[in-house]
Amino acid sequence: MAHKDKVLVANGQGFWGDSLLGPIRLCREGPIDYLTLDYLAEVTMSILQKQFLRDPKVGFATDFVRMIERTAPELVGKGIKVVANAGGVNPMACKDATIAALRSRGFGGVKVAVVEGDNIYGQLDELLAAGEQLKNMDSGAPLASVRARVSSANVYLGAFPTAEALDRGAQIVITGRGTDPGLVLGPLIHEFGWKRDEYDKLAAGTIAGHIVECGAQCTGGNYVDWRAVENMALIGYPIVEAAPDGTFVVTKHAGTGGLVTPRSILHQLVYEMGDPRNYIGPDCTADFTSIRMEQVGPDRVRCSGARGGAPTPTYKVSISYQDGWKALGQLTISGPDALDKAKLCAEIVWRRLAYDGVTFSDDQKLVEFVGANVCHAGIDVPHASDPSEVVLRIGVKGADKAKIDRFGYELVPLVTSGPPGVTGFAGGRPHATEIIGFWPALMKKDRVATKVSLFES
């Protein structure tokens, strides 16, 4: 197969809950070859796993199916390929729903691939018995210490299975847990035939993926110089214009809002960054400091020089587990003396609970006075000491669900039995909700078998 000299890979969704406009506008407002969409976070996997245990037809990102339904005419008409980690813990059900959505809109013959192998929830005991301790990367504790409370376990797969799905002719690729940059790297491996040991190119694709993986965060969203960002309402979602040699231009459709400059891209390059010289992905390591950026046109930044290295022998595993309960409520307290009254309200809650024998340690309690410098606590800012009104956010956490629920009873009564000017209790009584703990671990790559299957609408 002859390789193209340029491929356009866009990201239309930075997280599950991102604007519904991203994907459709990318398809409508200019050319793209690939639409990538990110739906999964650690907590999401746990929620989807629980849904799946109750109903084997769910456990995937349902928003994806609605997105396909809406954009199907553009996707099919323009031949745009889609790569999404929408499969969650049940990629086959996601595929079924996607195919049903395509058929309902009259689009038969669309090839849909599923990548599996990331979900190791059902093999955990086998893996532990085989000697994988799945130690917590932060604390060093073995998984056995929380095994009974584990609610999901997924490996961050690399991009080669996605590339294989595309090699086999898929127009839509549905994966479970993979790395976010892999959504972009997969299409580039497929289009340019990059090999497993071409580490600089794999690193370039990984860095390109990292730059666009949070949608508009590289095109002027969450940007320090926000006043300089024009038309933020219709901000353009990012597009990587990649070349076979590993160089790429980051851009967005002409006429869209936002901006693409070395400065806007650098903002995203540092986002959630660890050691900038040693980004560890499943297919390679990447040196973020090797990237050179150059403005080569309006909203066009050329990135070059990416260097990478061999991948590690382990996959990162994302495990979630039940880690207790929490409850959180809020009330609005108007002035005069808003802050003093809010402090009194918090004290009243703790004293009423103590009267009933319910106490919490400092680590289990949270009191915030929103409007009086919560986000930048301890830092001198103007007007923090006498706000005209504040929101009291008060919460507790712990292992005893009944105790957490008891807390919820003492918040709303402040409206009638506290200081004057307490309102905003519309949310009603706070209830205990589950805390989902995140357990990052490593496991040997050779214990994971990936599988690519192809279907048609």
Partner: protein, 116 residues
């Protein structure tokens, strides 16, 4: 030397890293980077963010990008869904660090481009 907030000579963006957060500080000029590499130490960041971060502060230097990346080890009140805080993902930690007031030489201030 003028006392100015860090925001006059650098940008920042932050996000969550497990139970902590990272703050990437992007110097706006080579002179600003050299100045910050010397003055914006982990100890200075730790003292400024003392009420937000209860853990250590580690600094990575990315010379080619003129970036200093700070890892705040315990800055989210537990992290993920275990946090009760408003800013459970450390989204605002970058702006918090940009409020840090520094004694910046005029030559460094003059080196900052007006906009880009």
């Amino acid at each position: 030397m003028p006392l100015v907030p860090l925001s006059k000579i650098a940008d920042a963006r932050s996000g969550d890293k497990g139970e902590g957060s990272n703050v990437g500080v992007m110097a706006r000029s080579a002179a600003a980077y050299a100045f910050l590499k010397d003055k914006l130490t982990p100890d200075v960041v730790r003292a400024h963010m003392h009420a937000i971060n209860r853990g250590t502060v580690v600094r990575y230097e990315a010379d080619g990008l003129a970036v200093l990346n700070f890892i705040l080890a315990d800055s989210l009140g537990g992290g993920g869904s275990a946090s009760l805080r408003t800013d459970a993902q450390g989204k605002t930690h970058g702006l918090a660090l940009l409020r840090l007031v520094l004694d910046v030489p005029q030559s460094v201030l003059d080196s900052i481009p007006r906009s880009s």
